[in-house]
């Protein structure tokens, strides 16, 4: 294939992925609005065995949920969009002849891929279909900004970016972007849900309301917790890999460059989150707010700093 057709194929794949994601978004929206989560009160089966002492209790939860089909369609479409985007990103890398994260456009489409990957993989381990809409919308926005504002032709890397530490560092950062986004979604939803629960006075009253479509605030917090427990060590590693790279390229491992500063701020905020979990009085909504603050710091690094001219890391490649 000629380089031009590789480039064209890559772009077609990214646009197709966006189209499919748009349908996925509608499917998730339909699942949200379409059906209420009706949980029939647990039917209990008991059996007595011959000895007369043992009791086997089994709670059977019957869920009758018309929105479920729509959300299954949403997940299938998201998988399809993921595969299309994966092909788009890989082709971009083949075209450029290097890892596909040399400028903001490439970084954005790869990060979008990372968010989808983390969401879809997490969804295979625990049911997260209800979260779909909150993942698909930011991913679509990211891709939209990428193809309109950030688009750049593939070019070789400036020498400072030619390093295998870059590949490791950015790859880890992309996985983190997925996990942080997931955690921000669950943390944000836990705040919404917590308010509704407080207003209603109990869980049961919530049936029918839109918030009844999402899990309990407690479960959302627990999901946030797990995601960040995974992401924080990885982010620590990301920052260290970046420092090693900086040492190799510029002769100092830490220089308080804006990009480094915001990576540090992100790290400190998430460390505060992990402490908040085990501090009395901070466990609930406050911890969720800290998780959101961490995500905002992360975004700041991702979008804000690339456009600050005085950063050594300004490799946006925008405007050429």
């Amino acid at each position: 294939m000629s380089p031009e057709s590789l480039a064209r194929m890559s772009n077609v794949m990214v646009y197709s992925s966006m189209l499919v994601l748009t349908f996925a978004m509608f499917a998730f929206a339909a699942s949200f609005a379409g059906g209420r989560r009706r949980v029939n009160s647990a039917a209990v089966e008991s059996t007595r065995n011959a000895g007369g002492t043992a009791v086997i209790t089994k709670a059977v939860v019957v869920t009758d949920d018309p929105g479920r089909r729509a959300s299954n369609i949403g997940i299938s479409l998201t998988w399809l969009a993921f595969v299309l985007l994966l092909v788009g990103v890989v082709l971009r890398g083949v075209w450029a002849g290097r890892a596909p994260w040399g400028n903001m456009y490439e970084f954005s489409i790869t990060a979008a891929l990372g968010v989808l990957a983390v969401f879809l993989i997490a969804n295979t381990r625990t049911d997260l279909r209800w979260l779909g809409i909150f993942i698909v919308i930011p991913v679509l926005l990211t891709l939209g900004v990428a193809v309109t504002v950030l688009y750049t032709e593939a070019a070789q890397l400036v020498p400072a970016l030619k390093s295998y530490w870059l590949v490791i560092h950015v790859f880890a950062a992309i996985i983190c972007s997925g996990a942080f986004t997931l955690a921000a979604a669950t943390a944000g939803l836990s705040l919404v849900r917590d308010r509704a629960e407080r207003k209603a006075g109990s869980d049961v009253e919530l049936t029918g309301a839109l918030v009844s479509r999402i899990p309990s605030a407690e479960r959302l917090r627990s999901l946030t917790n797990k995601t960040l427990a995974f992401a924080f060590p990885l982010w620590t590693f990301t920052v260290v890999a970046g420092a090693i790279w900086a040492e190799n390229a510029w002769g100092r491992y830490w220089g308080w460059d804006p990009k480094e500063t915001w990576a540090f701020i992100t790290w400190v905020i998430y460390a505060a989150y992990l402490h908040a979990r085990s501090t009395a009085g901070w466990r609930g909504n406050k911890a969720s707010l800290i998780a959101l603050a961490g995500w905002i710091a992360f975004l700041m690094n991702y979008f804000g700093v690339n456009f600050l001219a005085n950063s050594l890391h300004s490799y946006a490649g925008v405007g050429n």
Binding site: N49, G51, T53, A54, V55, I56, T57, T152, E153, A154, A155, Q156, V158, P159, A160, K162, S163, R219, S222, N225, K226, A229, F232, P233, T236, F237, V240, W245, E247, N248, A249, W250, G251, R252, Y253, W254, G255, W256, D257, P258, T261, W262, F264, I265, V268, I269, A271, A272, H275, A276, S278, T279, G281, W282, A297, V305, L308, N310, G317, N320
Partner: protein, 519 residues
């Protein structure tokens, strides 16, 4: 903090210490650290770009000096930033050191004895024994020990219970993480106190030997001995650069390669290395990094008698991505003194708006635009001057000219001739020695390992008890999970542990399968 400080002085100090080392304080300090870091990414920093700081202060004469006084241009060495992180680390020491002791004791003490009512614990089970209590307990204790649980059983003469605990490594990991942070900070401090760092511009074909006077800028820590830096030397034999010529990102650098020959000390044999960005040269514990490059036009000046008063390749500093470069020549030993202010353009273009400028960083069409001055260079006043700036206060302009390589300009007032015969390239190097670097890396790695252990290992206890109830002997199994990241999975994990115990009992042939499960 609602509790009021006690009045006595020792009581007060103890209260302060307790507050400082509380988790809530750690949390608040972490926040403060995040907030205090922000201004450094908003305002230019002296350590990164001193010229920007100067410009900022000139541009805002009211706020500039105030912000300067408050340390906003040197955030990371400002008293308030230091105060936050020092308090945080004090808090960390105060919090972690006692925990090390507690944990050490906990690891050596026996797991707590069996609670009275095992059947009340969530997930507890019962199994029917097929052997004596002693055999049952022996089998369980053996299996648990083999699986690296800490195990006690009792009573000594005829044991009827086993208590076991596992997952101490969670706390170990947490402590390793926090202690490692202390070491990382110490390593950074060591680098700052004993290390040094310098910058130097070396022209193609020229050499450098590692003494402080040869640097353009050099800085060492408080305990660095400037006389003691290793006596290596190197020559920049050849410097190659390559720029993007395609439409996308035209002019962006694509490759820099410095062919160097170096000697570890004056008597050592010459060795050769290709140094690139990301591929520094290590000599005697220091590292030589390629950080920039530019052009050095070859300029020859003769005075009115025809005597050569200047003949050298002068490093010019690039001003933009297309390497529009500026530089000066100062000639002291002619009367009157001569000065040349010049622009070197690798690919020259001239337009009304931008004036003379370069359109591409490669030397496609080089030109030198210059103005010549005569008079007093002002170098005798003793006031330090930059080699890149001409002080024209006491000088008069002779004229303006533009030259292509190989051409000369006869100064219009007859005071001499300037010849532009070509150019060389120069490369700038940062040479750094940081004795804390490796230590920092080791402890950062330890910190990540400790962190992962702390977040993923579960601390848990299991108990097994042989009891007599209504004339029937049963084996009770139960356990608890202690603080962990995955609360809602804990019950499942506990069940796995109890499954393990149950299986061990069956394999040892001392009990029969599940007969009762409670929730």
């Amino acid at each position: 903090m609602t509790n009021l400080p006690p009045m006595s002085s020792t009581g007060f100090l103890r209260w302060v210490w307790r507050q400082l080392t509380s988790m809530k304080t750690a949390l608040v300090l972490l926040f403060l650290l995040a907030v205090a870091s922000v201004p450094g990414s908003v305002y230019p920093q002296r350590g990164v770009d001193p010229i920007k700081v100067r410009d900022f202060i000139t541009k805002s004469p009211t706020w500039g000096p105030i912000l300067d006084r408050l340390g906003f241009f040197e955030v990371y060495s400002s008293p308030w930033f230091s105060a936050v992180y020092l308090l945080l680390f004090l808090s960390l020491i105060g919090c972690v050191i006692p925990r090390v002791g507690v944990h050490f004791r906990a690891m050596r003490s026996a797991p707590p004895a069996v609670p009275r009512m095992l059947e009340r614990l969530a997930g507890s089970r019962e199994v029917t024994p097929t052997a004596s209590a002693e055999e049952v307990i022996g089998a369980v204790a053996g299996a648990l020990r083999k699986a690296r649980w800490r195990v006690v059983s009792g009573p000594a003469d005829s044991p009827t219970w086993v208590a076991a605990e596992k997952g101490y490594l969670r706390e170990t990991g947490n402590l390793v993480f926090h202690v490692s942070l202390l070491f990382v900070l110490s390593a950074i401090a060591i680098g700052g106190l004993f290390g040094w760092k310098g910058n130097v511009i070396v022209r193609e074909g020229s050499g450098f030997s590692n003494t402080v006077t040869q640097y353009d800028a050099w800085g060492g820590g408080r305990y660095t001995n400037a006389q003691d830096i290793p006596p290596f030397s190197f020559t920049l034999d050849k410097f190659t650069v390559d720029f993007e010529r395609g439409i996308a990102q035209r002019g962006a650098p694509r490759a820099f390669e410095a062919e160097m020959s170096y000697k570890v000390d004056p008597t050592a044999p010459v060795e050769r290395r290709l140094v690139e960005v990301n591929e520094p040269l290590s000599i005697s514990g220091a590292k030589v990094f390629l950080v920039g490059h530019g052009y050095a036009p070859l300029i020859t000046v003769t005075d009115k008698t025809g005597k050569v008063v200047f003949d050298d390749a002068v490093p010019f500093l690039p001003q933009d991505g297309s390497f529009t470069s500026t530089g000066v020549v100062k000639i002291l030993d002619s009367t009157p003194q001569l000065g040349i202010q010049a622009l070197f353009l690798p690919t020259a273009a001239l337009d009304d708006v931008l004036g003379p400028h370069s359109t591409f960083p490669g030397p496609d069409d080089p030109a030198l635009f210059m103005s010549a001055w005569k008079g007093d260079l002002g170098l005798n006043t003793g006031k330090p001057q930059s080699v890149y700036r001409l002080v024209t206060d006491k000088m008069t302009k002779i004229g303006l000219e533009q030259l292509r390589p190989g051409t000369s300009w006869k100064l219009p007032d007859g005071s001499g001739t300037v010849t532009f015969s070509g150019y060389k390239r120069w490369a700038s190097f940062q040479i750094a020695y940081d004795p804390g670097k490796e230590i920092a890396l080791i402890f950062v790695a330890l910190a990540i390992v400790g962190l992962t252990m702390s977040l993923f290992i579960r601390r848990r206890r299991v108990w097994v008890k042989v009891v007599e109830r209504d004339g029937v002997t049963v084996i009770q199994l139960a356990g608890i999970m202690r603080a962990s990241t995955f609360e809602d999975k804990d019950i499942g994990a506990l069940a796995e542990d109890l499954d393990f115990v149950e299986q061990a009992l069956q394999v040892a042939g001392v009990a029969r399968g599940i007969e009762k499960e409670q929730s």
